[in-house]
């Protein structure tokens, strides 16, 4: 039997995807990072510190919540892995604590990060403050407007936010700008990438840092006598919360479902290509120019997807679907009213798919675990604007 979500090959390939497509200037930094991560991940002292900070500072383990009302309404058994309850309000903290610790281990004093919704930026600024690092966050100008409160949060945390005015002024351009900046400061600065994307070792390393949530969830379901769910579902931007969740179930019988934004569905409407240091599935024009993604959620506004997801899709171990803006807004309201949890717009994509597919992809009586990747506080102003305009 094939095992899934183990190691990529020596050059960072997951099947045909992944690799390391970076300028020569960044090559030594990628190699250094890979070595530092391998070394740290096998070092009990590093692991202790990582787990200690995530527990004492990050609020882990997060619980699994049974959705009583929705389960009876939908005729399924619905569980949520509550990453919204982790510090800073999403799964992003798991990754940034790991990378910030690695930064110190490599003797670097500063991190830079890209952000879309601002969640990874806030998490990076938080980890930097906690561990005494400098932090600069690159954010598309359009996103700084959509998520103005998160910009202020990052600044409160002592980070500086650099609005990116090139291209579509969203997440993909923020990654470009962070990569350019990294070239000029690579000796002192670590690029704290926010998802399972980019050049090797990032897709693998970020998945490993996020695997804590999948491991916890699997154990929590066993502990409460539920066992292996029929299906685990997560939203997918770059794919880090999904990769973390899937890694806890990749070699079980559970169906793995990733839900992309309809306007950013790299698996659904993309084709193989090379961007941001990786070979993966990308939304691109018929002559290979990268297209802009469109989504109500800044965090899913990305025309690509992490290479391991491209591999899991190609090998049919995981399945990828999409959800549109309207059903996402409905799902956000439904979970809020029925269960008392306001999810992030990103997360609401996973919920929208579940609500839509009961009786379709999901059979009545199935046990479904959804990764509640983040809380919706950052999105309420935007949702108010949209719903207000409709009323």
């Amino acid at each position: 039997m094939t095992t899934y979500m183990d190691h990529p090959d020596e050059l960072g390939h997951f099947g045909d995807f992944g690799g390391r497509f970076v300028p020569e200037a960044l090559m030594p930094a990628c190699l250094e990072l890979e070595e530092a991560f391998r070394d740290a991940w096998a070092d009990p002292l590093f692991l202790d510190e990582y787990h200690h900070i995530l527990k004492e500072f990050g609020g882990r383990p997060t619980p699994v919540t049974y959705c009583e009302r929705l389960s009876s309404e939908l005729g399924i058994e619905l569980y949520l892995k509550r990453e919204d309850l982790a510090h800073t309000g999403s799964h992003k903290i798991n990754n940034v604590i790991g990378q910030a610790l690695l930064t110190k281990r490599m003797g670097k004093k500063r991190i830079i990060a890209e952000t879309g919704a601002g969640q990874h930026g806030v998490a990076s600024a938080t980890a930097a403050a906690k561990l005494g690092l400098e932090c600069t966050v690159y954010m598309g100008e359009l996103d700084t407007q959509r998520q103005a409160l998160n910009v202020f949060r990052m600044e409160l945390l002592g980070a500086s936010v650099h609005p990116v005015t090139s291209g579509s002024r969203t997440l993909k351009d923020a990654v470009n700008e962070a990569m350019r900046e990294w070239v000029s400061c690579v000796e002192t600065t670590h690029y704290c990438l926010g998802s399972v994307m980019g050049p090797h070792p990032f897709p693998w390393m970020v998945r490993e840092f996020q695997s804590i949530l999948g491991r916890e969830a699997a154990q929590q379901l066993v502990d409460r006598g539920v066992g292996t769910p029929d299906m685990v579902v997560a939203c997918v931007g770059g794919g880090s919360n999904a990769a973390g969740l899937f890694s806890g179930f990749a070699n079980s019988s559970a169906r793995l479902i990733g839900v992309e934004a309809a306007g950013g569905s790299a698996i659904g409407i993309g084709s193989p290509g090379v961007l941001h240091g990786m070979r993966s599935m990308l939304i691109q024009s018929d002559v290979g120019q990268i297209e802009e993604a469109h989504s109500i959620s800044a965090g899913l506004d990305y025309p690509g997807i992490g290479p391991e997801h491209a591999y899991l899709a190609a090998s049919q171990r995981a399945e990828y679907f999409s959800a549109g803006d309207d059903e996402v807004l409905d799902a956000l309201q439904r979970l809020s009213r029925s269960e008392g949890i306001i999810p992030a717009l990103e997360t609401a994509h996973a919920l929208a798919w579940v609500f839509r597919e009961v009786g379709g992809q999901i059979r009545r009586g199935d046990t479904v675990l959804v990764n509640l990747s983040g809380r919706g506080d950052k999105d309420v102003a935007q949702v108010l604007d949209i719903l207000g305009a409709r009323a």
């Binding site: 690799g19 300028p23 200037a25 030594p28 291209g167 070239v183 000029s184 090379v274 290979g288 990268i290």
Partner: protein, 257 residues
Amino acid sequence: MTSLDTTLAALRASGRKALVPYLVGGVSDDWLDHVRAAVHAGADVVEIGVPFSDPMMDGVVIQRAADVSLGRGTTPQSVLDDVATLDVEIPLVVMTYFNVFHHMGVTRAAGALHSAGVSGVILPDLPIEEQGEWRASCTDVDVATINMVAPSTPPARIEQIAKIAQGFLYASARMAVTGAASDEGHALDVVTRSRAVSDMPIYVGIGITTPEQAAAAARIADGAIVGSALVQRVLEGQGASGVEAFVGELRRAIDAG
């Protein structure tokens, strides 16, 4: 050995330092006249950028030129079709990002480059580990794959790169993306370390902005590559005569030694 290797080795043997201006393909109706003007003013190789939506190694000037060009409907094939109509005596090399050719399919892309009369290709986001298939397809049709070395590249890796490099070694003078700079950065160090492991021509680029800097780069290496400073003039609307004047200045500065 590709034809580009032979041509550039002969150029060096003649004692002439190479001047390599960079222009963005499709940036204006008369962009081919800019190439001709550069050749007329004494370029030894012209580097032609095929615009890509996400130019990770380019600073604001070349980004802007790429946006202008894409806004005019430029495609990789339209640049190559234009290039095919040029009848210049010097080698032309293309610089772009790997996705453009990956999307075409590497065999087809290599064929298209060859048909357009392109002698070499620079792909800054395609490191040696990922070059195998690309390099083989290009070598088959006599198109050179040109590699970069950076100030951060350790000696053992420079050696690995130099072993398979074709045409010339592109020595990046600084840890930066393309754009203006006020000095030659780490050029001397990179060139010295490259010379120690390779006898192929070494050209310095990234940040070379003035004729004085170009002359300094050519003194320590076998040639100088000038991009943003020239593209800036094109964006200002200086046209073919502006290109000819600036490339002429660069030429004279380099030849004065």
